[in-house]
């Protein structure tokens, strides 16, 4: 059952990749104003593939649930994969409201990146610690992920808006920041590439090191150590000697992963720039030529409107119910809880700015981007860096 499950996920992943290509193809064809026009043949195939992929991933989810005996949302890999699936699901729903394949072209790569990122974590089925043994866990986590996924659609739409609206003929703060967003996405790809390469090579090296309490410990790196641990002593024979040694309070291993991801990201980004010879956002501009700005703006805002109640329900209300049962208090200022509150406050501010200050269009699109950054921070950084009750076993 577990093997079948992994295969289904792989199939889904491949289908998403192919669907993205078809989404690209559907844009290339000459079209009028996208609003009323029927989706073309490429687009129809793309949507079909997306749905088949989604069903396949749903199959992964169900089979893994059966294999594990609990809903597969209990570790970093499972949760992130589910988030990717929810993203695809949210896209399918929004697609059937607005019927624009361009949104697919921007959403699917994000979903693919999310799933690829997820698979860099240990994929074993993990047992549940007592606090997680509650069906409220499954309800809370799935609803929260779906809410975040719908909010992420607003990011994709916001991105389309910015690519179209920002003048790429001269460089400005806006072009810089938009490019920074693109670079971040490429860096995720860089992380995936670097991790896959080193794990494919089976790279290992061990260090003896001294932690902040002056205890000796052994740490195992799976990537060559650029940043070595505090008073680290290389144990592996042909291991890579660190360039710099970190102080004890810094988690050198995680920092090393970040450095490698950045290197991977920079190389990839450099290669892309070398090939296309302009900013990524500039290269994407022709794709969005036919879309109407108000239309994407509305998709973006609508996604926030649909996603916000779902997010509130999942990430705050259900979370409170579960916390009340597991930890006897519905709110305990755990970092993950606080970041859910921060996300919620942010989108609340977003809606108030839009409603009463008239922050439509580009401002609104930038806010959608920032919102997604906060969600991603909550997913990635809070779990891996800021330890708390929610911290899953990170790599």
């Amino acid at each position: 059952m577990a093997a079948l499950s992994s295969n289904l996920l792989f199939v889904a992943f491949i289908l998403y990749l192919i669907a993205t290509l078809f989404f690209g193809g559907s844009i290339k064809e000459k079209k009028g104003l996208s609003e009323k026009k029927e989706t073309n043949k490429w687009g129809k195939i793309a949507v079909f593939l997306t749905i088949v992929g989604f069903v396949s991933q749903l199959g992964y989810f169900i089979t893994r649930w059966i294999a594990a005996g609990h809903a597969p949302v209990s570790n970093m890999f499972e949760f992130t994969t589910f988030f990717g699936m929810a993203l695809v699901g949210a896209f399918i729903v929004i697609y059937f409201i607005y019927r624009t394949t361009l949104l697919g072209l921007f959403t699917m790569p994000v979903a693919i990146l999310v799933i690829a990122y997820a698979s860099m974590f240990p994929r074993d089925i993990t047992p549940l610690i007592p606090a997680l043994q509650s069906y409220w866990l499954h309800i809370h986590v799935t609803t929260a992920a779906i809410g975040e996924a719908i909010l992420a659609i607003s990011f994709a739409a916001g991105l389309i808006y910015l690519v179209k609206a920002i003048d790429q003929t001269k460089s400005s703060k806006r072009t810089f920041w938009l490019e920074a967003v693109m670079f971040s996405l490429v860096t995720v790809l860089g992380f995936v590439a670097v991790s896959s390469i080193f794990s494919g090579m089976g790279y290992h090296e061990k260090f003896n090191w001294v932690d902040k309490h002056d205890n000796e410990a052994v740490v195992e790196y799976t990537m060559p150590a650029i940043a070595g641990p505090h008073e680290g002593e290389l144990l592996t024979k042909d291991g890579f000697k660190p360039f710099v040694e970190m102080p004890a309070i810094v988690n050198a291993k995680k920092l090393n992963t970040v450095i490698w991801s950045l290197i991977g990201g920079i190389i990839l980004y450099g290669l892309i720039r070398l090939i296309i010879r302009k900013r990524i956002s500039a290269a994407l501009k022709p794709l969005v030529k036919n879309i109407n700005l108000d239309f994407v703006d509305e998709i973006s805002y609508r996604s926030v409107l649909i996603g916000f109640p779902v997010f509130t329900l999942g990430a705050l209300i259900f979370a409170m119910i579960w916390a009340q049962m597991a930890w006897s208090r519905f709110w305990g200022w755990d970092p993950k809880e606080v970041w859910a509150l921060i996300t919620w406050l942010f989108y609340a501010a977003f809606m108030h700015l839009r409603l009463s200050k008239g922050w439509h269009g580009e401002k609104s699109a930038w806010l959608a981007v920032i919102g997604f950054v906060i969600i991603m921070f909550n997913l990635v950084a809070v779990n891996l860096i800021i330890a708390g009750l929610h911290s899953y076993a990170g790599s």
Partner: protein, 539 residues
Amino acid sequence: MNDVKCECGHVNPHGTVLCEACGKVLDETDNRKELLDMRYEGSARRSQTYNKTIIDKIWNFFSSVKVGVWLIIITLIASILGTILPQEMYINLPPDVYYEQEYGWFGKLYYQLGFHDLYGSWWYLLLIAMIGISLVICSLDRVVPLYKALKAQRVTRHEGFLKRQRVFGANSEAEQTDLETVKKHLQAKRYHVREENGDILAEKNRFSRWGPYVNHIGLIIFLFGGMLRFIPGFYVNEDLWVREGETALVPETNEQYYIKNNQFILEHYDKNNKTFEKALNRAGEVVKNYQSNVVLYQREGEKIPGEKPKLKKLEEYKIRVNQPLSFNGYSVFQSSFKTEFKAMTFALTNKSTNQAFGEVKVDLTNPQEKYDLGNGYSVELLNYFPDFEFDDNGEPSTKSRVPNNPAFIFRMNTPDKPKGETSFVAIRQTIEPFGNNTYKLAFKGIETKNVSGFIVRKDSSLWVFIIGGIIFMIGVIQGAYWNHRRIWVQRKNGQVWIAAHTNKNWYGLKRELEAILAGTKLTMPDDQLQRDKEVKEVV
């Protein structure tokens, strides 16, 4: 500060932008804009019209959405600060030590700034309180005029109002049957259709306009619940440690309830479990279950502290994580456990012959003064240090009453040493203060017992939070998932004018309008906002 009478005859409050009844633009400075600003229907928000006394000034401050958004953003940033380092409640050392030790100068600064208890600080509370005030005043200030404006609206609208709606179109050709068809379509789409002199106003989902105010009420109730917690007795949150086999009073229950801990159980996942094999190999031991088997008692009759209670058994229960024991508004949660030393056993032994003369078992919570081993052999306990350390003067002393590190001073009385020999015994060490002894107390074994850590909680404010949460969700869904739509079909200057407005989701409105106008000669009105943009984009 006079009320404004519109040419249609309706009297509007001072500060009204659009006549509540016919929609004519009253504020002439607004007249030049091409499209109307329809927020709050152009009604007179009170905050903007009275600004005389200090009360008005405070009121207007909190009534501003701009202030509200700033409050949200400041709270957001403050909340982020609190997640940089663990908060006080998640650390297990005194904060003045912990932060500096773990995070150096940064930690020290963090502690000195008071960020170790950021969410309990007065200024964070003040921020939340100000958001609460802002919620109340903003809502009051807007919902009343909006309600009045929506209630006062007439079917027939002023030309300027219609023309400057975002979706607007004029038709010169129209048949009477067209209007009938439109009406039928509107009704089929669940519009509430009103007619006046052949003019039509179709409206639906007006209730969605109240969504924001409903959810604000929910939030206010939620915050009110937080305030209730400060009232004594409303919120009980106590730690309770109970050793296996002991019965303890449940705190804050007016000495009513007692709990006996029969057994604490700690289970790990089976390493041979097929499903989790790989994960367990990587992570090591993973806890499967924390459980305390307890008996709940209620006291019978009157009693004052110190008296032995008469207890009536209420129920047996297995308290596990996620499965608290609940009774009479109280809940007892499994929160932690520890293992304590219970008893230590020594054998009185002759050091040279290794012959033993009986065993001494010292109960660490209730030691005896003298242990008689018979045949003239006995051991006296001269001094007992449950949590042994040397104090500042180098004297043996105890750090606490808990037997974490027990140490003893024994006198061994034997027939051949009638005066007795003194021996200091601690874990892994023996000191003979008065020279070489003939006998020793050889360590034989140690017994432990588990202590269950519970959290006792009573939260009488919980229902307030639940109601607040439900009302918030209703409000937010009401406001987000429905759209207030209005369509005007009116005869002006011998033409049929169509205008439409929605508070959001224009795309959906236009699609609906297409369906409504289908089968008639009436043409689809323009989206004036988009038309303008397109013109600009082409240029």
